[in-house]
């Protein structure tokens, strides 16, 4: 019983990262029908930005760690959002203006991801960075179950972000505009809606969440390397597809589902089977429902 609860908690934490990253994939796809393959690397950039912000605040200003954390969260999210918007501006928007086919934009996204990874490698070197401890670690133990305060924060953050995005997309005007663009990219400008601004806002939201995920990831697994975003980004993308890409609930559920399956497989079988089993299960889900759990056959998405 203890093992079950402990693994549920482990799965919740691990799934939170997938969910947070998958939300970014889903938002951009929902609005632009573009799979932003650079998103995993924006997550990596977010982790590095968090590292530099935190070390700078700790080093120069001599703040207390909790104050640094309070400042690092918004700063990281803003700066990472800046990176996402820059990417949209220099890579995706020119292609969109020229009316390039979606396929070329997806390939461009893949390329941007590689540029971010290798740019980081060239700029900062291969040596790993150790993320400073911003949080006094508290371990709560109930019987054989242990949970740290960080774990609770991560899970809590994922749920909050999901609720917030759900609210923005379904209840606000800009959310309505996002859904409108998804529905018909050509008619929406005629209604007087500034399509570019809405798209930039989408990237701000998606990349900001990736920045938050990067910060939380760096706090949970405090060793940073340039390629850390690649694999987790791919997996989060798959999670978003299984959840039904374009749907926010889908990304959220898909992320946690993948987290649970991965932890569950390792708990029951040798770890070599993890990805084999995890992705076989996801494949079966797609067989049954090719659009993903919450996906709708292509009409409006998001």
């Amino acid at each position: 019983m203890d093992i079950l609860i402990q693994n549920l908690l482990n799965g919740l934490q691990w799934g939170s990262f997938y969910a947070l990253i998958a939300l970014g994939y889903t938002l951009v796809y929902g609005v632009l029908l573009l799979i932003n393959f650079a998103h995993g690397d924006i997550f990596m950039v977010g982790a590095y930005i968090a590292f530099f912000v935190a070390t700078a605040l700790l080093g120069f200003l001599d703040f207390a760690p909790w104050m640094v954390l309070a400042l690092t969260v918004p700063l990281t999210m803003i700066l990472t959002a800046g990176v996402g918007v820059t990417l949209e501006r220099i890579a995706y928007r020119p292609l969109r203006r020229k009316g390039a086919h979606r396929l070329y934009v997806v390939i461009t996204a893949l390329m941007c991801g590689l540029i971010l990874e290798n740019g980081n490698l060239a700029l900062l070197g291969a040596s790993r960075k150790k993320f400073p401890e911003l949080l006094d670690k508290v371990i709560y133990t109930f019987g054989n179950v242990s949970v740290t305060n960080l774990k609770i924060i991560v899970i809590f953050a994922a749920i909050t972000v999901f609720l917030l995005l759900q609210f923005i997309v379904t209840k606000t005007k800009i959310g309505m505009a996002m859904r409108g663009i998804s529905y018909d990219k050509f008619a929406i400008p005629l209604m007087g809606i500034p399509i570019d601004n809405v798209i930039v806002f989408t990237f701000v939201l998606g990349s900001g969440m990736a920045g938050l995920a990067g910060l939380l990831f760096a706090m949970s697994y405090p060793i940073l390397e340039p390629y850390m975003g690649a694999l987790i980004g791919w997996k989060a993308f798959i999670a978003a597809v299984v959840g039904g890409i374009g749907d926010i609930r889908g990304a959220f559920i898909g992320g946690f589902l993948l987290g649970f399956i991965e932890v569950g497989v390792v708990a029951l079988f040798p770890s070599t089977f993890r990805d084999l089993f995890a992705f076989s299960i996801l494949l079966v889900i797609l067989w049954i429902k090719p659009t993903g759990l919450f996906g709708v056959a292509k009409t409006t998405k998001i």
Partner: protein, 393 residues
């Protein structure tokens, strides 16, 4: 406009080609070329950096005196550092490049067994002597007359870890967490399991868990391990993963000790792991704290030059490179023909019976593996690696 761009591009290409041809043809003086197949990027960049630092120091030493004296003539050295990205397939490519393109007479490295085992095959097939400084997996040199090493073997290191842990922790049971895609980690974990079970009976290894190289979350494996309640956890893993594993185990409420292996011994371990690793033990090649003689001299010079204590990889690279230089000297004369020179270096290497390295004196067996002592090191409260015990075969 377009035409102009194309033309200027063409002109640039021609210029580039001309440059390559000119630089390729220029007659240079004779040099002894030695290649380094080391991980400068990838999972363990610090290992490559330490290797390169030690090699640079040695290179400067010898070239300052005009070169290596072979048969009364001084020939300067030239070192080629190639990055194998900590990947097995890149290590093979690097070995081929060093052998075919750069024309080196011998190769130092790769360091980790994951790369040294496949690259050893390549060097052996291409008849180029290779000395791995750090690889401890038996397969690296097994049935490969052209491949040597400067480190002890895992079949020796495994029992050292078992004996020490049983004595130190009074352990009856143990758990193992290892990297299944790394030859080194997997090999050592299996040897450890076999020896520990022989000593403490079947089922004394209460959990035998693995993970992949790129993994960052080990909570599921650790939950299983902690629930089986071992006396200590054996982690034969690279330093970057050790930092994550130890921290996550503590987060999950594990309070017992860890025992590590020589892959822990990087100068970067304490930077990444911090307080969580203090007080743990690992087996390794040498202990920097309290060293004497030539070892101390090496450590002091390295510290002065690079501002950090040399880890075992640095010391072993120093020894491995000096072994090759010794072999070149022993051969008596330097031949400019690559094939003959490689052959004579190999023959000289295999006839070295005893060598006084800074990681201890070594005798070589028929496989080209040194027989030397291992040390067990404790990480003290300040993060220094302090000598705890020495075990000789």
């Amino acid at each position: 406009m377009k035409k102009m761009i194309i033309r200027s591009l063409l002109a640039l290409m021609v210029l580039g080609l001309a440059l390559i041809i000119v630089s390729g043809c220029s007659k240079e003086e004779e040099k002894i070329k030695i290649g380094f197949n080391i991980p400068l990027t990838g999972d363990i960049p610090k290992v490559g950096e330490a290797s390169k630092n030690a090699a640079e120091m040695l290179l400067a030493d010898i070239n300052e005196q005009g070169g290596l004296e072979v048969g009364g003539k001084k020939i300067p050295l030239e070192f080629f550092y190639e990055d194998n990205e900590s990947k097995a397939e890149s290590a093979v490519n690097v070995a081929l490049k060093l052998i075919e393109q750069d024309g080196v007479v011998a190769i130092i490295g790769p360091n980790s067994s994951k790369q040294a085992v496949p690259a050893g095959g390549t060097c052996n097939d291409n008849r180029t002597p290779m000395v791995s400084p750090w690889s401890t997996n038996p397969d690296t040199t097994k049935n490969r007359p052209w491949v040597f090493r400067a480190a002890f073997l895992d079949p020796f290191q495994g029992p050292v870890a078992v004996n020490f842990a049983t004595k130190q922790f009074k352990a009856k049971t143990s758990a193992v967490l290892f990297d299944i895609s790394n030859d080194y980690s997997k090999g050592l974990a299996e040897i450890f399991k076999e020896v520990f079970e022989k000593k403490n009976g079947k089922k004394s290894i209460v959990a035998f868990e693995s993970h992949g190289t790129k993994d960052q979350d080990f909570s599921a494996q650790l939950t299983k391990i902690i629930n089986s309640n071992p006396d200590f956890i054996f982690v034969p893993d690279n330093y970057n993963q050790v930092a994550l594993i130890v921290k996550q185990a503590r987060d999950l409420g594990y309070k017992g000790p860890f025992m590590g292996s020589d892959a822990w011994g990087s100068a970067e371990l304490m930077k990444l792991c911090g307080d969580d690793c203090k007080g743990q033990f690992f087996s390794t090649h040498y202990a920097a704290a309290g060293a004497k003689g030539a070892t101390k001299e090496f450590i002091d010079r390295y510290e002065a030059k690079y501002g950090e204590t040399p880890d075992d990889v640095a010391a072993l690279t120093w020894d491995a490179t000096r072994l090759v230089l010794q072999a070149i000297k022993d051969a008596g004369s330097y031949s400019s023909d690559l094939k003959t020179e490689r052959k004579s270096i190999r023959d000289a290497l295999s006839s070295i019976k005893e060598f006084a390295g800074i990681t201890g004196s070594m005798k070589f067996d028929s496989q080209g593996d040194p027989i030397k002592c291992a040390v067990v090191v404790r990480i003290d409260e300040n993060g220094n690696f302090v000598f705890a015990e020495s075990v000789c075969p």
